[in-house]
């Protein structure tokens, strides 16, 4: 019987810079090829909500957590159709400088990352223990990604190489030791690195020098948002069905109003007859932008 339970889902409070937003647009659902993906600037369109005096936190300072505002830039959302936003943790692309062990604890294996190979905007994440929980994914030499394979960083510390004399010449003489600062090298232990006790020779793969890797934070769960920009939806149909309507007998203008009596649609109603005055068609024609403002609801009913 458990002593208690705990939840494993928390509202995320990551920085917008830790987010990557990828946009896909398609004019309709039946487009099956030529997908065009575009990366949006998360720092400018994603904004966290902050506490105010009503929500109990430090107003304007303390992040509310979980709730963010996503601005849809007009330059991108400018057509009818379906926009898919794929929101995922930002990826840091770099390479493994070396794989090594600590000089004082040779059984502690890890990868060494040179901060000079890290994009400038992400270097502030590379601090002592700043990468704990980040995920490493690996790229093959041909640029393809090693599928279904990743490692989790369990510690990260600045380090510097030291020269070690070893009895066994097959071992590397360059090892690493931690330093507090003043180094561009970061020693990251990953999990797993130890061989299972039932097969001690099966040392887990953690990468190799010069291999390109992708380091990703795990601050939030990836999500997708389908945004459909459309002319009509259920509420629109509700207006058409249940909203106020007027029909001008004199000029045949048929007007539909929303719940606030705003003019939603206007149509011309007329009949088409032949030369013998036989009725051929009854027509309802959308007036489009040519709205007859005199048919506003107040003007009609008052």
């Amino acid at each position: 019987m458990a002593l208690g339970t705990y939840g494993t889902t928390r509202p995320a409070d990551m920085s917008p810079e830790d987010v990557e937003i990828i946009l896909n647009y398609t004019p309709s659902r039946d487009v099956t090829e030529n997908f065009t993906l575009k990366k949006l600037d998360s720092a400018s369109i994603l904004t966290p909500y902050f506490h105010n005096n009503q929500t109990g936190g430090n107003a304007g300072v303390e992040i509310l957590g979980g709730l963010y505002n996503l601005k849809l830039p007009a330059t991108e959302f400018n057509q009818l159709g379906i926009y898919t936003l794929y929101i995922r943790p930002a990826e840091v692309r770099t390479s493994i400088t070396d794989c090594g062990v600590l000089s004082s604890l040779p059984n502690v294996k890890g990868i060494i990352i040179d901060l000079n190979n890290v994009p400038q905007q992400y270097r502030n994440r590379f601090t002592n223990q700043g990468l704990v929980g980040f995920r490493i994914e690996y790229l093959n030499s041909d640029g393809t990604k090693v599928p279904n394979f990743y490692r989790i960083i369990t510690s990260s510390f600045f380090c510097e190489p030291v020269v070690t004399n070893l009895v066994n010449s097959s071992q590397k003489s360059i090892r690493y030791r931690y330093v507090d600062s003043g180094s561009d090298l970061m020693f990251c232990t990953v999990s797993p690195t130890s061989a299972p006790t039932n097969k001690p020779s099966a040392t887990p793969y953690i990468g190799q020098p010069n291999q390109n890797i992708i380091i990703t934070n795990t601050f939030f769960n990836p999500m997708s948002i389908d945004i459909q920009v459309a002319n009509y939806d259920v509420d629109t149909l509700g207006i058409a069905l249940y909203g106020n309507q007027t029909k001008s007998i004199e000029d045949g203008i048929y007007t539909i109003y929303d719940t606030q009596n705003n003019i939603y649609k206007q149509y011309n109603l007329f009949e088409v007859r032949d030369e013998f005055n036989n009725l051929l068609f009854e027509v309802r024609q959308d007036r489009g932008d040519n709205i007859d403002f005199s048919k506003n609801f107040s003007n009609v009913v008052n």
Partner: protein, 357 residues
């Protein structure tokens, strides 16, 4: 990590900018534009939308990163626990003496037995003393000397190569110190030295970890207790002297502050006590945050193969203790004096039958 997905539909009635206000005959009303007109009604066909935003919720599914268990102290490589040196003399370069240095650091080897395999096809020898000598019979070659340690926790073998005849060996760092240049940062290019001799690098003591930047939490803790005034009693007269500070075990213990008719006050271990004539004793002290006394250095090791696994500690032993003969003269308190198997054997007087398997 789980993923989430949302669907949002944006059509004219959810956009306030879609309704254009018009006034006619004193009536003000709104008129809808179609979504297509909104998206292309601006200058050069640009969108009229300017502030389209949607709220989104992000969650994080977290997992404990690992399973940590404390262990009881020094972390040593096995080839430090078990190790040996060898040497030859100038006079006889085929006569190799092996020195067992396994017991240098820890007492865990006290149950260990040792064997030496000289690597030349000769019989494996038991090693009972701290050194043992072997003659390679003038046969030149490269051999591997093995020191085989067997103890209740398993067998550990350390192998070192040797070239016979053994001549002088160049020792790069006779003092066990290496010098290197830092590779980057402010110390780049600056030479530093590193003491390579193993001197307990893994030593992890409280003194190495403490900091004095503690935060005092300023609130008063008080209550009633029993008088401890007699703890400050000194020999001779007067028995309680406000000018005398009492020390215990070399540490300042307390001092009488005032002796009066209404109360007697004194301090013990920074706690102020007030003894009143009615027999009650009031104590007063200020709270504090973490102090050095609250810090206990516990080394952590991670069992990676036990990620996400929590289990109770399990003690595995191949030593079986069988209840031996009862003796009315055997005091049970003797058990508290026995803290290892060796003591149990030596001081058990046959009270227990011990089999090692």
């Amino acid at each position: 990590m789980i993923s989430d997905s949302q669907y949002i539909k944006i059509s004219p009635e959810v956009l306030s900018s879609d309704i254009i206000q018009e006034t006619l005959s004193g009536n003000t009303f709104g008129v809808y534009s179609g979504m297509s007109e909104i998206l292309s009604g601006g200058t050069n066909g640009s969108s009229l939308l300017t502030g389209l935003t949607i709220p989104v919720v992000f969650t994080e599914t977290f997992n404990d990163l690992g399973y940590y268990s404390p262990f009881d102290g020094l972390a040593l490589q096995y080839n430090v626990i078990t190790n040996f040196l060898y040497s030859a003399t100038t006079a006889n370069k085929y006569n190799i003496t092996l020195y067992n240095t396994s017991d240098e650091f820890y007492g865990v080897n006290q149950f260990a037995t040792y064997q030496v395999d000289w690597g030349d096809g000769s019989n494996v020898e038991s090693m009972t003393l701290s050194s043992i000598t072997h003659n390679y019979q003038q046969i030149e070659g490269n051999y591997n000397i093995k020191l085989i340690q067997t103890n209740p926790w398993g067998t550990t073998t350390i192998t070192k190569p040797i070239s016979i005849p053994m001549t002088g060996v160049t020792i790069d760092n006779p003092e066990g110190t290496v010098t290197f240049d830092s590779q980057g940062g402010n110390w780049s290019g600056t030479s530093s030295t590193y003491n390579f001799i193993f001197s307990g690098d893994a030593e992890n003591t409280v003194q190495k970890q403490i900091t004095s930047n503690y935060i005092t939490v300023p609130y008063i803790v008080s209550g009633f207790t029993k008088s401890k005034l007699t703890d400050l009693k000194t020999y001779g007269n007067p028995p309680y002297d406000p000018t005398v500070t009492i020390f215990k075990e070399g540490q300042e213990y307390g001092r009488v502050l005032t002796i009066g008719e209404t109360y007697t006050s004194y301090t013990i271990n920074d706690v102020v006590y007030y003894d009143y004539p009615n027999g009650r004793t009031l104590f007063v002290l200020e709270s504090s945050g973490f102090t050095t006394n609250d810090l206990v250095a516990v080394s952590l090791t991670k069992e990676e193969n036990l990620l996400d696994v929590a289990m109770q500690p399990e003690i595995q032993s191949q030593i079986f203790i069988e209840r031996g003969k009862n003796s009315a003269f055997e005091g049970l308190q003797r058990l508290s004096e026995v803290d290892n198997i060796g003591d149990l054997v030596r001081y058990g007087y046959g009270f227990y039958n011990i089999n090692e398997e």
